[in-house]
Symmetry: C2
DNA sequence: CATGAGGCCTGCCCTTGGGGGAGAGTCAAG
DNA sequence: CTTGACTCTCCCCCAAGGGCAGGCCTCATG
């Protein structure tokens, strides 16, 4: 009943390297070590301890924790406290990975949705918009600052977000400095928090055009939309909407040439 | 627009050590490095890359994977495949940790149940047993081999197990060599597999005694039970049951002095 | 302009849980 | 006795940095 390290490795399914490490750390000391050759020999009791170590390793305990447990506990009931702590930590890990999984999945979904529209060429179209619930942050200043507003709104709304971010422009004209606009996201539900108000955004018939490319080139698309509207004699309703179907990604900034922005102008009849 | 490493560390919430490491690995190369002093200076573009790195790190990507992704992807859509792979791996981790959590939780529960009974002193008692579904592996040979049988049955039944393991003794007498017994566990459901059969175990009135201590000392408890039965003139029904309420733990072998084994003998009226 | 404080540099060792290999010694069977 | 398979120790390596020592660098203040 004396096993060499190789045999013991086969029995316990622990690598020789590991066994030597466990010996060095005092976690699993061979029953007998030959003084002259240094050969390690293991016995029956070692097998049991090895089994315990394997199980604790599968439970994701560190080697030092395993040593502590095995040295101090005569019985499983002695480990109750540590097991409960471990259980807590494992649950935290599960929660963390679930969040990661959720985030990655939503990025993938977003990307796949966009991929289908990316290859299309876009024309001005008319369609019906439904009334939706939005969370908005009204701002005054320069258009470029809308990014911060969107960040704020998205952060506050977290999991309730229910669509692509958008901007509402309340001015009927282009203003460089003192524009009046609102950073919004559609939400499922939520309540007002500092700076962010929840309300319904009325739907209706609109003229829409998906703009492909950097935001700097939006003017050309606006021109098309207004040309269309004027030709038909429609009346422009405010606020004008810009929906960021695909903008700078959540991870990478991406290539502005692939940005997709939908301009929507409600028309009053 | 030039940040020293300290400032950049505050901006990006990455430690200086990490930043130097990322520089060394080519993951995040400062915009400008002073030749004579070796001082690193970061710019706006570095901030963006740092943000991407942070997010990917939160997604549990390794640094080399992050380097790969950032070097090869101009856009989130380029990362789709890798993101999907990552999602799979994260889900596997969740599954694994869920299994761990389940195992630990059941050990804790088991231990807590036993803890309440451990301090009691036990007397022979009479009670009603309900009919239960069991998975059993009939064996012939020495009683000590029951351990292997229990191992087999538990492994085959896995998650369906619904109670403490037990042995059924079909002999009316003590047999050293050629005993007829069955290793069993209660199960919720399941179907016959090689060597393991599922069936109902009939309940009824029984005489029971919880034995505390090593299995070698079981005889004393059997003596008590039979004394009780004979005194009242009951008739012993087979099979006799031994329920291992607390035996060698799942992790540690534990102290046999604390083992709890319930002897149950159905009495026929 | 000098000086001192604080920031930054490189380099080295440490962590966890081993893997890989070199070079030397050992064991057991033919 | 030899030979091939085992085993020993020692050293370097991985990820993703943390901590510290000793020495420069920068910048604001006197």
């Amino acid at each position: 009943m004396r096993f060499s390290i190789g045999e013991f490795s086969l029995i316990t399914q622990l690598s020789i390297k590991s066994l030597r490490l466990y010996h060095e750390k005092g976690i699993l000391v061979p029953a007998y070590v030959d003084d002259s050759s240094g050969y390690r020999y293991y016995n029956e009791a070692n097998c049991e301890r090895a089994r315990s170590i394997k199980i604790l390793k599968e439970f994701d305990f560190s080697l030092s924790a395993i040593k502590d447990l095995l040295d101090k506990c005569r019985d499983e009931s002695d480990m109750l406290v540590q097991l409960e702590e471990k259980l807590e930590r494992v649950k935290h890990k599960i929660d963390r990975y679930r969040e990661i999984s959720h985030s990655i999945a939503s990025i993938i979904e977003l990307e796949k949705e966009c991929a289908m529209e990316e290859s299309r060429e876009f024309e001005v179209e008319e369609k019906e918009l439904e009334t939706i619930l939005i969370a908005g942050h009204r701002m005054r200043g320069r258009y470029q600052d809308v990014g911060q507003g969107l960040g704020l709104v998205c952060k506050k709304m977290g999991r309730h977000i229910n669509g692509k971010p958008m901007t509402l422009y309340y001015d009927g004209e282009y203003k460089e400095e003192d524009a009046d606009f609102e950073a919004c996201v559609p939400v499922r539900k939520g309540k007002d928090v500092d700076g962010v108000s929840i309300r319904e955004l009325k739907g209706g018939r609109c003229v829409a055009l998906i703009h492909k490319g950097p935001y700097e080139a939006l003017r050309a698309s606006y021109k098309k939309v207004f040309a269309y509207i004027n030709k038909r004699g429609y009346k422009v309703g405010t606020p004008i909407r810009e929906i960021y179907k695909k903008g700078p990604g959540l991870i990478l900034k991406g290539n502005p040439k692939n940005y997709l922005t939908e301009i929507q102008i409600i028309i009053e009849r």
